[in-house]
């Protein structure tokens, strides 16, 4: 039983981590809580479902198209709405509310178009599984965990190794200075949104396949957990997002496995409070020193 719970915990952790990575990327660079993240999470899943389940395209192609399509939409949101606000000197709060408006509009548009009933997301691996003595690991679980690792590695390389990544980090520390150093901040921010939205769409699709079903309310349970993992791991830090997601996933699984499902949320938020009290910047976040 312990081995099976371990596997469940890692899988759940991977789903939270995937959802958090996209959010943390955008928050890290722009210090902006992107509330449209949830809508893109759902939109990506529906996009992939339409391509894969309804139109029967193969899974990899439909996943790629879904990511690209949602990513472009995310970038369009930045270019069309957030960039003008930035140029007019609008505050982060206005940008946050703008993403909120987009999020609400997209989610409800999906409800109007697809209806709110739960839809089927077929298992791309046909339910194949590995059966050990006391534990079962389905291919979709392996796929979820593997993907989480791949995304973290790719994003880490992107942010810490590439030129674009350096530009992103420059902007996150000091946008004005970055611009002075000749970084075309608007394009970099656009790409950040594109990648962040793709992460959200990816995690939405992967989770839908893991659960085998999707509906427009599936983001609400992940939404709060995503914030919790972001804070737990240290807002804005990618390894922090994955660490936070994993801890939360494991914690919830073991609490509901060994204590009771009703209290799993209480535990995860109790841990969150403790972290906030003693390390407000999160486990891997950097403490910002106040300079005059």
């Amino acid at each position: 039983m312990l081995l099976q719970q371990l596997i469940n915990g890692i899988t759940l952790g991977a789903t939270y981590a995937l959802a958090t990575v996209g959010f943390s990327l955008v928050y890290g660079v722009l210090e902006l809580a992107n509330f449209a993240n949830g809508a893109f999470y759902i939109l990506g899943a529906y996009f992939a479902m339409v391509l894969y389940a309804s139109m029967g395209m193969n899974f990899a192609v439909s996943l790629a198209l879904a990511l690209a399509g949602t990513g472009i939409l995310g970038a369009a949101m930045d270019a069309g709405l957030l960039r003008p606000i930035r140029s007019k000197g609008g505050t982060r709060t206005s940008m946050m509310i703008s993403t909120l408006g987009v999020g609400t509009a997209i989610t409800n548009l999906i409800i109007v178009l697809f209806g709110s009933e739960t839809k089927r997301f077929p298992d791309a691996f046909g339910g194949k599984r590995l059966e050990f003595a006391s534990a079962v690991v389905t291919y979709k679980q392996l796929f979820t965990i593997l993907l989480c690792i791949v995304v973290m590695v790719v994003l880490s390389i992107l942010v810490y190794r590439t030129k674009l990544g350096r530009a992103m980090r420059a902007i996150s520390q000091n946008p004005v200075a970055a611009r002075l150093m000749g970084i075309d901040t608007n394009t970099v921010i656009l790409l950040t949104f594109f990648i962040g939205t793709m992460c959200a769409a990816l995690s939405g699709t992967v989770v839908s396949m893991y659960l085998g079903s999707l509906d427009t309310t599936m983001y609400s349970s992940v939404n709060i957990k995503m914030f919790a993992s972001a804070i737990l791991g240290g807002v804005g830090s990618l390894p922090g997002a994955v660490l936070g997601g994993m801890i939360l996933g494991m914690l919830e699984t073991f609490v509901s496995g060994y204590i009771s499902t009703a209290y799993k949320d209480v535990f995860s938020f109790a841990i969150l409070i403790l972290v906030l009290l003693f390390r407000p910047a999160g486990l891997l976040g950097q403490r910002t020193i106040k300079k005059v």
């Binding site: 039983m1 099976q4 899988t11 209806g115 009933e117 079962v136 699984t253 496995g257």
Partner: protein
């Protein structure tokens, strides 16, 4: 600042509200294209349903069922030549919206109201309908307190106490002894769990574990692993259809081979569509089975399938039966005394339901409880 800078309700609000007030005499709300012109001598029926929001799926069922029954009633001549017309109001499945639209209904000279769907909304507006002496005929409110509010509050759903007792007797007779109970952590879910553990332990059965979950919970892998490893024979659950789907799939994924039983409200077509053969053999303690051997049920299923292209499920049946019951009492007492209509519905010794003549006692139907199962991808009666 001698004076108070109190800029309270600005002119914009007054104008827009007055305008909204002007045209808000109970005009028929556009709902799913069935706007009915409310001409002078028509008899008006109201209906509250979650047309939007998380429960929108059930809102559609309620609209279909009520419209179907009224269509048949009006084609058969209506009430002494007068047609019965329905206005749908959207409560979005939340208590605050239910109160919002309830205020509109009680002023709209309706003879009765079909809905709301949930106990929560019913509890929020029950007293208002009691004061205004208009029937509030809830579709699936199985909370014990709902029908007790006043004589105007009646539900078409069997109370948890009765369905859980029936379930425990049936499970015991089938020879099951070790059960796990999973319940949605809302008012009805808690009631279901209390009654189930009371009856099951009374019979001597072993309740291995009972766990609650929140409506938007998607991951049951942890609790399923505990169930599989503790040799549970039956997973019984009170859940809406969305959670039922995840429970079934994750149970089968983790190799659970035993019986899974749900309450009637999880009985939706999506369960079959999404779970596929994982749902084979899943049973429901339901209020309705589409091949139940009575004339009324057969006619209802045929007319519903002809009209909407799919077989009806429990929510469709409950809304249809509620409307059916209101129309019977209308035929007896006429549309004028809404208080009398409410009281007759609340305690009706003999109502001609689809199952035959069964009584309503204190606003609760004493109807049979068929057990429905999924076999070869279709709902059918198990017992």
């Amino acid at each position: 600042m001698k004076k108070i800078l109190a800029a309270i309700l600005i002119a914009a609000m007054i104008l827009s509200l007055a305008a909204c007030g002007g045209n808000s005499t109970p005009s028929t709300t556009k709902a799913d294209g069935t706007t009915q012109a409310a001409s002078k001598d028509d008899i008006k029926l109201a209906s509250i349903a979650p047309i939007t929001g998380n429960l929108a799926q059930h809102g559609v069922s309620i609209q279909n069922a009520v419209n179907l029954r009224l269509k048949q009633y009006n084609e058969a001549g209506g009430y002494q030549g007068r047609k019965v017309v329905v206005d749908f109001y959207d409560d979005q499945g939340t208590a605050a919206e239910a109160v919002n639209v309830a205020n509109k209904i009680v002023d709209g000279n309706y003879i009765a109201c079909v809905g709301p769907y949930t106990s929560a909304c019913g509890l929020a507006i029950g007293s208002l309908f009691g004061e205004e002496n208009i029937t509030l005929y809830a579709v699936s409110a199985s909370h014990e307190d709902f029908a007790k509010q006043n004589d105007m509050c009646t539900t078409q759903c069997a109370p948890q106490s009765r369905s859980r007792e029936f379930e425990c007797d049936w499970l015991w007779d089938e020879g099951y002894r070790k059960v796990a109970y999973l319940y949605l952590n809302d008012d009805t879910g808690n009631a279901a769990q209390n009654w189930f553990s009371k009856f099951w332990t009374a019979k001597g059965g072993e309740l291995v574990l009972s766990e609650s979950f929140l409506a938007d919970q998607k991951d049951f892998s942890a609790v399923m692993t505990k169930i599989v490893s503790s040799g549970v024979e039956v997973i019984s659950s009170y859940a809406n259809y969305a959670s039922a789907i995840t429970i079934i799939q994750q149970a089968r994924d983790l190799g659970y081979k035993g019986l899974i039983v749900f309450g009637g409200n999880a009985q939706q077509q999506e369960v079959i569509d999404v779970c596929g053969e994982a749902a084979e053999g899943v049973k429901f303690i339901s209020q309705f089975s589409n091949d139940y051997p009575t004339e009324g049920v057969k006619a209802f299923v045929e007319s519903y399938e002809k009209e909407y292209g799919r077989k009806p499920t429990q929510v469709d049946y409950q809304a249809y039966e509620a409307t059916n019951h209101i129309l019977q009492v209308l035929d007896e007492l006429g549309p004028d005394d809404t208080k009398a209509i409410g009281e007759k519905i609340h305690n009706n010794p003999k109502s001609h339901s689809l199952y035959g003549d069964y009584p309503y006692v204190n606003g609760v139907p004493q109807f049979p409880l068929p057990i429905v199962q999924i076999k070869d991808g279709v709902y059918c009666t198990y017992k």
